[in-house]
Every structure is written in structure tokens, then in C-alpha cells.
Amino acid sequence: MTWDWQYTGDVLPDLLHGLRYTLIATTLGYALALVLGLVWTLLRRTPYAAVNHTVRWITEFVRSTPLIPQLYFVFFVLPAFGLTIGSLTAGVLTLGVHYSTYTAEVYRAGIADVPKGQWEACTALNLPRSRAWLDVILPQAVRRVIPTLGNYLIAMFKDSPLLLAVNVVEVLNAAYQVGSRSLRFLEPITMVGLLFVVVSVISSILVRRLERRYATH
């Protein structure tokens, strides 16, 4: 069996349609991960040991278990509590929560990296806690970790095909469905593979540029 260019052209529209869902899931999931990660980090800094430990174990648990069973959990268990959600919503939620445990670590490192003098300056200027966080510490911490956060965006993009486990028709699933209609899998799946490599290579070049731009050393 040889490569069929005609067929390759024919499957492209289906793949692009799938790519739309891949991008939707990645963007929304990433937005959730960015926000929720910050929530985890700030919760871990509360003076209450109970909150601190609970959050630590929850994030550790979510981080060290695979995405697919987590997807099943969200997709099949939430309806048992009367919360029926679509497969794409389940995918976005799972990706977001899963990656929030990574971004939480990233933020934590970023905050730890802010020089101690900045905190002392806040105290000396008698800034209220909210202003110290919002206007002094977080802007510096987030700036430092932007390249790392970029790497997790790429990682999440590469994990998005897992959503096919709950029947989201993202790009790999689209390729699979096209292939199973014609029993020719070689072209569509190879195209998806190439797409991932191209996107990853380009985005890792972008991340390297971010690293140079936000380098603190």
C-alpha cells in the first residue's frame, strides 16, 4: 500500500474540523489550569495546617494518577450526582484540573524566587496584604515562570488526544473515524502525527524566545 495524495487531500477537512475541538479543549483547559493552579498555591500558603495538608495531598493525588481514568471519573461519576455534562466539558474540566496541579508547582517556585527584600519593602511601605500580593509579588513571580507555563501549554496540547477516551471528536479521533470509514489509516494518522510535530517544534522555538525575553539572570 502506498501513500495516496488524493485521499490525503480528501481527509483534510475532517482533520481540520477535529483540530477545532483540540484547540477549544486546550485553550479552555489551559485557562482553567492557570486560574486553579494559582488557587492551589495561595491555599497552600494559608496559616491553617489542615487546609495546607489537604491541598497538598489532593494535588499530589491528581498529579500522580493518569488522565484517562480521571476523565472516566469526571464523565461517568458526576452524572451519578445529578450533574450531567457533555464529553467536551468533561475533557476541559479534567485537563484543567490535572494541569492545575502542575501550574501550582510552577507558581510556587516563582513566588519562592521573588527576593525576600520585596516582601520586606512591602512591610516597610505598610502595603495592605492584597496590594503586596497583587501589585508586588505576583507580577514578578508570574513573569519569571512564563516560559515554564508555556511548556505546560505545549504538554497539554499533546495530551488533548486522550479526550477521545470519552468520545470527543478531536483531531486524532477525527483521523481515526475517517480511517475506519475507508479502512485506510496510514494517511490521516500520519498527518496528525506531522501536525503535532510541527506545532511542537514551532511552539518550543517560541518558548525559547520567551525565555530570553523574561530571563532574570
Partner: protein, 232 residues
Amino acid sequence: MSEVLDSYPQWVDGAWVTIRLTLLGGALALVLALAFGLAGTSRHAAVRALNRVYVEFFRGNATLVLLYWFFYALPLIGLRFATLFAAVLALGLNIGAYGAEVVRGSINAVPKAQHEAAIALNFTPFQRMRRVLLPQAFALMLPPFGNLLIELMKGTAIVSLVGLVDLTRVSKNVQGSTGETVAAFTVALVLYFVIAQVLQLLVRYAERRVDRMLGRGLPARPALDTAGVAGG
């Protein structure tokens, strides 16, 4: 819940498949990481290019896409793999690419003076790598390797999508046969968590062993102090 636990032979079998995939994939990834990581530190541009192509291609691809490619696409051009082998190949190639970057970075992170000292002592390039650079680089590699091993273990869940009966597939089967949705998926997640924690303990143990082999991480002993005084 009890119905879910009654099917424990299935859970044990599933966990065994997951563990076996982790170990086999890890072994393949380790070999690839060392081979291509060393290629990345080569003096010859062509050998370094080999490293770049391997890393960019297999790190840039999603593991599931690789697995589908090995499982659905390649058989059509006559390359047919057993499912387990295709899974090990996809996981090993993907994690191996991340590992190769770790190996390359660690070897480059060994202080340059070590390299120069080995040349001054007239070591052959092989001796230099084997006796001086690699042992020190190995201590730097272990913590990131530990993280990659956990990633690999989590990655094995994709095999449930091509018909291997691992922990994830077992949880789906048990959910189907007992209807206990919450219990079935909770048990699976807890088992994965336990496996991850055990792997982490093993990696920590290995880290301590390597540190001791290199004479690092030991508490300062009085005996060493007196030796220092006597020597000075």
C-alpha cells in the same frame, strides 16, 4: 463497593499489566535516552543532528498519536506489531526523547574542569565518559528520571484504548459488570496513586545510593575533619 473488591483477580492482573508496561517502557526509554543523549554531546555535527531529529520528532508527538500510528497505520504498510510491543515502543520512544534531553543536559552540566582533568590524565574518550563524566552526570539525571518514570506510568493508561487490559480497562470493565461507577474508578485511581508512590520511594532510594557512591550527601564526620587537619 464489595462487588468491586470481589473482582480483585482482575485488578491484580490489570495492575500487573500496568507495572510490566512501565518497566519495559522504562527500560527501552533508558537505553534510547543514553544512546541519543550521548549522541547529543558528540563533537560531530552529523551525530548531534541525529539527536535533534530523534528528540524533536518523538518529544513533539503525543504518545497516543504514536501508539495509533504503530497500531493502525503501520500494519497497512506491512509492519505489524503485537499490541504490547507497539505500546512499549510508543511509550519508550516518547519518554526516551525527554530522557535524551536530560542525559545531554546532565553531561553538559558536569564542571568543565572534570573534562579537562580527564584529558590531562590521558584518559581515552571512552574512559573519560565511563569513569569521570557519566558517574557524576548520573547523580544529576536521577531526579528528572524519577519524574519521567511517573509520567511513563501515567502514560501506560493509553493502552486501554487499543485493547490491552490494564488498570484503566479493568476499571471500565468492572464498572460495566457491577454498575458501581464511583467505586470502580476510585479503586483504579487509588491503585495508580499507590504505584506512583512506590516508584517515587524507589527513585529516592536510588538517589541516595548514587550520592553515597560519589561520596556526596554524607554528614560531615569528625574522622574526616581530623584527616583534614593532619593533611594540612
